[in-house]
Symmetry: C2
Subunit: 192 residues, 2 copies
């Protein structure tokens, strides 16, 4: 599964064999069954995590025990809890495999070493961060501007692969509506 990661990085820049050897030496490939937690609320998150295969969702649980899905991540995306990673505080999030999933984990200390040793890698990562910020900003824009129906259609447009892959009640919690509302929206959208 390391090859998936290698292919992903090499689509952005070329690294030497030595560099790859180092990266591989600090990489851990771990498999999670559907429903297993990659990160459990309360634990400190110490990794950078790349999805080689499968699908996970990041979510928080509110005072009424309702789950709110912050993000879905599929193969060739990253996941994790940046807040816990950065501040070394217990995470307030859960990350759950919603399919059988293979994750490549690199401990943050090792990750920092890679970035130090390999400036190319470092700049790839920073460009990924930038893109990820753009994505988050678009999400915020959608959240404050759109009606529930518009949010759903927007999601379909931007993540068509995901719409059929994630359970609907999780999609509802991602969009910030109840499953019932999503169900009704879908019914209306079909008619059009």
């Amino acid at each position: 599964m390391f090859s998936v990661f290698k292919k992903y990085i090499e689509s952005k820049a070329t690294l030497s064999d030595d560099e790859w050897a180092f990266i591989e030496s600090v990489s851990n490939v771990k498999k999670f069954r559907k429903h297993q937690l990659v990160l459990k609320e309360g634990d400190v998150w110490n990794f950078h995590a790349f999805i080689c295969d499968g699908c996970v969702r990041r979510y928080s649980t509110d005072a009424d025990n309702v789950e709110h899905t912050i993000q879905f991540s599929i193969e060739n995306w990253w996941t994790g809890d940046r807040e816990s990673l950065l501040n070394e505080t217990p995470s307030k999030l859960n990350i759950e495999a919603i399919e059988n999933t293979t994750v490549l984990l690199i401990h943050k200390d090792d990750f920092d070493k890679i970035c130090e040793k390999i400036p190319t890698f470092s700049s790839i990562i920073s460009s990924i961060l930038q893109k990820s910020m753009n994505t988050m900003q678009k999400r915020i824009q959608a959240d404050i501007s759109y009606t529930a129906e518009e949010k759903y259609l927007h999601f379909l447009e931007f993540y068509p692969q995901l719409a059929n892959r994630v359970p609907r009640h999780m999609l509802a919690s991602y969009l910030g509506v109840t499953p019932e509302t999503l169900s009704r929206i879908r019914k209306l959208a079909y008619k059009k």
Copy 2:
């Protein structure tokens, strides 16, 4: 006004006189009157922008000409349009001074040079980016989890300085509700 920026950076790390001289040589301090646009939709944004004094808001305008405030930034924060900066595409956003505002602008090419020459600076910036991502994520969580009233109270809690500084209709558009709804929420919140 350069001193404000210097003080901000020096609260995080120390740079040499030479390094400061270089940074200052590529910095542009620009003043904006209340209501003036720092960035106009359609223009390409080429800068990194630090607010020395004042307050701006970043907003988009939707198909019905309704404005949606994405973020407020005051002194000691950054502003700009990362998407336009990164992709060199016309911006879809406006940035408006909502007070008389002083901004320190550094052209992206110069900014990249600073980061190359001064690794300390570069790592300060990347840690700021990380924090900013955490903030955005919390915003997303609030947007999908909270009722309008909770969003307002949450805003008061996290940005007490801002609540009295920004016009209410802009705050409403930041929270994703109409000015009328915000007005009613405030009335209820007082009673409690």
